[in-house]
Each structure stands twice: as C-alpha cells, then as structure tokens.
C-alpha cells in the first residue's frame, strides 16, 4: 500500500467504516510508515481537540432570550393559523 492510498482511506479508517481486511492492510502500512502514522495520529487529535473544544457555547442569558422570542412568535403564528407561514 502506498501513502496516497492510505490517505484516501484515512477518514474511513478513523471512523471505523472499513472491512477487517482493509483495516489490516492500513495497520500494516502504519507499522512501518512513520509519516503516515504521524499524519493519522495528529488527524485523530485534531478531531478530538475540536470535538472537546467549547467553541461557540450559547450563553445561558442569550439562550433564554432567544427561546422566549421563539416561543412567543410560535404562539403568534398559532393564533394566526396554519396558513401564516
């Protein structure tokens, strides 16, 4: 397996969306190709860092304000009837 082929399968590999045979081939490649090992490992870390990051959390006061506005408009639309879209 060449590095380019490994990279093509990287997303499927990290997501566990490959069959056992392909997985074994990829892991065989990883065992001797340090560059691909590093790329794979750091790509996995990239995903985990973003997944665990708390970017763009919705502050509780803003959350309440938005929800109140949404619910109030829903009530208004309900009164106006289903045609009012």
């Amino acid at each position: 397996m060449k590095c380019a082929e490994f990279l093509n399968e990287l997303t499927n590999y990290l997501d566990g969306a490959i069959d056992e045979r392909t997985k074994a081939e990829l892991e065989d490649h990883l065992a001797w190709c340090h560059n691909c090992y590093v790329v794979c490992d750091t790509t996995k870390k990239t995903i985990e860092i973003y997944r665990d990051s708390q970017l763009y959390e919705l502050p509780e006061d803003l959350r309440t304000r938005l929800r109140t506005a949404i619910v109030s408009k829903c009530h208004a639309r309900k009164k106006a009837g289903p045609e009012h879209v």
């Binding site: 997501d15 090992y37 790509t43 959390e57 919705l58």
Partner: protein, 218 residues
C-alpha cells in the same frame, strides 16, 4: 491506533411524541425541542456565518421555520437532521448576504493549495492543547477552522463536532455520501496541517507560537 468514538446520541425515544404534539399545536412541546437543540443550532450557525448576530438570527429563524413547516416533516429522518438542514440553509443565506463578492455553495468543488499530500509530518506534543491557555487555544482553533472554505467547514462541523453520521450529514447538506467523505477528508487534513504549526513537538520548552491573524476564508 483506535478509531474516533462517535458521540453518544441524545435520547430520541420521546422526540417523535414531542414533534407530534407540536404539530397538534402544543407550543410547550415545541419549546422542549428548542431546549434540546438550540445549543447545537447556535454552534453550527456560528461556525458557518462566523458572526454572532447572524448566528442568533439563524437560531430564531430556523426554529420558527421548523415550527411553521412541521406538517412537512414526515418522520423519515430524525427531527434533528431535518432541523439542521433548515439551519444550514439559513446560515448560508446570511453568509452569502454578508459576502456577496464570494460564491458560497456547498456544491462547489473547492480546489485549494493544501489538497496535496500532507507537508507537515512532525509529531505533536503529547498534550498539545495544554501548551496554551484556554483563551489562546480558543483563538487558535477558531481562526484555524475559519480559514477553511465554507463547504469543508460545514461538513467538518456536522460530522466531527456535532457527531452526525455520514448519511445524516449528506441528508442535511443535500450532498452525496462520496462528496461528504471527500470534503471531510480534506477538511480534516487541512485542519491538521494548520494546527501542526502550533502543536508540533518542540525541542525548546518555551517555543510557543502566537496565533496568526487575518481571515483567510474562501
């Protein structure tokens, strides 16, 4: 090497019941759906629009649009996937309005200079995120993801941040599954490449690198 563990799904057992009640005019049931997903919609909207006010508007408009069109929700997909689809469209509309000089489309085949094989293959520190304080780390992560084209950013956020499956992402974005996979791979590799500048293992212990400034979005 272990694979990425999927996020644990929010319980959906009573979700259909809430949707049915809301369809029948129960605003309280709809409010429960808002509580369940408002944080996700806000996060997605801010990642796409990169603007706080726009994200607030997207949250309101997406939920109101969902409420007004509940009768069209047939239940073949999850309510959340349906809602995300509405929210993404609202967010893209605002992004286009704010940046009319740029074509913003999820269908575009974006060619970038970083599509080639990875260039930066230095290993990272064992706990790279601990090299920076929270504010610095947030700035690095925000600026790095903002530099991705909108179509890559959106796929990455839905798949890897929000934990939607490939199929759900394809459905929410109206893309084919191969298109989602291709964008996801390129998004992941580009983010990895860019983060390597900040997280790679250094000989010197004090070798922090300041986050770059400047919006490189395309």
């Amino acid at each position: 090497m272990t694979t990425i563990q999927p996020k644990i799904d929010t319980p959906v057992t009573d979700e259909l019941a809430l949707v049915q009640a809301a369809k029948g005019g129960d605003v309280g049931a709809f409010e429960d759906l808002v509580r369940r997903y408002d944080r996700n919609v806000f996060r997605i909207a801010q990642h796409i629009t990169q603007n706080r006010e726009d994200a607030e508007d997207v949250v309101q408009d997406a939920f109101l649009k969902a409420y007004s069109n509940l009768h069209q929700f047939q239940g073949q997909s999850k309510f959340y996937t349906w809602l995300v689809r509405i929210a993404v469209n609202e967010a893209l509309m605002r992004l286009r309005r704010r940046r009319p000089e740029r074509m913003v489309s999820l269908d575009e085949e974006v060619k970038t200079e970083e599509d080639s094989l990875p260039r930066e293959v230095a290993d990272w520190s064992p706990n790279p995120e601990q090299q920076y304080n929270q504010a610095e780390l947030r700035e690095i992560l925000t600026r790095t993801i903002q530099g991705l084209p909108a179509s890559f950013r959106t796929v990455f956020v839905l798949r890897d941040v929000e934990g939607l499956s490939t199929e759900e992402t394809a459905e929410a974005l109206d893309l084919s599954i191969p298109a989602v996979k291709s964008r996801l791979l390129r998004a992941r590799l580009q983010l990895r490449e860019r983060l390597s500048r900040f997280f790679q293992r250094r000989e010197a212990t004090n070798g922090k690198q300041k986050p770059e400034t400047g919006d490189t979005d395309q």
